[in-house]
Symmetry: C2
Subunit: 173 residues, 2 copies
């Protein structure tokens, strides 16, 4: 039920979550970026039940992020590979990785991004491609786009008012 509602929503975050917004799905994508392509590789890496894995892989194929390919005719065997749309999900994974390292790795980072040529550690941040500026608040705002419905416009307008009107809270704590 949720899937249907999310798919028809006007919000790009909700639409993306509708396709990939589930633990297993995102971890399957992570493993696909690691080079895994076969059902048993994903199964072993994730310790996921086969029926669940099957369902998630199907969902990723339906959403166009992965593609099922036959790599052997006899016996017929299939592998699952990232499509271009799937590969384009990497920034989301890197943002999650950076967040996890900052907030949930008290013992230090176990997985890091490095310059492949030099091995120098990279620090993933999100910027505006054109200006190179960090997309921080309040310099960059989220606003209604050309295809926004009336409802989305109203929500985002309310947000702007709300953010400027609401006093800093928590003084009673």
């Amino acid at each position: 039920m949720s899937r249907t509602r999310f798919k028809s929503t006007n919000c790009p975050i909700a639409r993306t979550l509708d396709r990939v917004g589930e633990w297993w799905t995102i971890l399957i994508l992570r493993d696909a970026f690691s080079g895994f392509t076969r059902f048993d590789e994903f199964e072993q890496s994730l310790g996921i039940a086969p029926n669940m894995l099957s369902k998630r892989l199907e969902g990723l194929c339906d959403a166009g992020l992965m593609e099922k390919r036959r790599y052997s005719a006899r016996p017929p065997r299939y592998e699952y590979v990232l499509t271009e749309r799937g590969r384009d999900f990497r920034p989301v994974l890197l943002a999650l990785l950076a967040y996890g390292n900052r907030h949930f790795a008290p013992e230090g980072a176990s997985v890091v991004v490095v310059d492949a040529a030099t091995g120098a550690p990279a620090e993933p941040v999100i910027v505006d491609r054109h200006s190179g500026r960090l997309l921080s608040e309040p310099e960059f705002a989220v606003v209604a786009g050309p295809a926004a419905t009336e409802k989305t416009r109203a929500r985002l307008a309310a947000r702007a008012e709300r953010l400027s009107a609401k006093p800093l809270s928590g003084s009673q704590t």
Copy 2:
């Protein structure tokens, strides 16, 4: 059961998903960035069942992304506000937003990021903070960090081999 496993994993993506890897949780964060703070505001915006919302808000407070604050003593009333750790989740939301706009908005973008001063549209991309270079493959790799367990090291080493050894597949398609 999944929660336990994910929490104890060595992977920063899985650890983050353990805290926020669920549709509702991420949409609650989205709405919190919109300035919503009160239970009924989230409830109305998301059309979520109160018991579900209550559980998700509690999870976000437990994980340190939100904080429950009393804003009225009589009657006692509470609001939920983003903590610093919660605000730091914004890059993940922006990456999801950009992805949704690129892949799941055939009618055009309904929500966009703009320079708040000029209104010029921004294009969120993920780069290395130090060099400003796009974190694209194969220039930037994901490798074992200082706190990696043996298992994580093995997985990431296998990945490197696998990626260089595996021939381009799909010629049978």
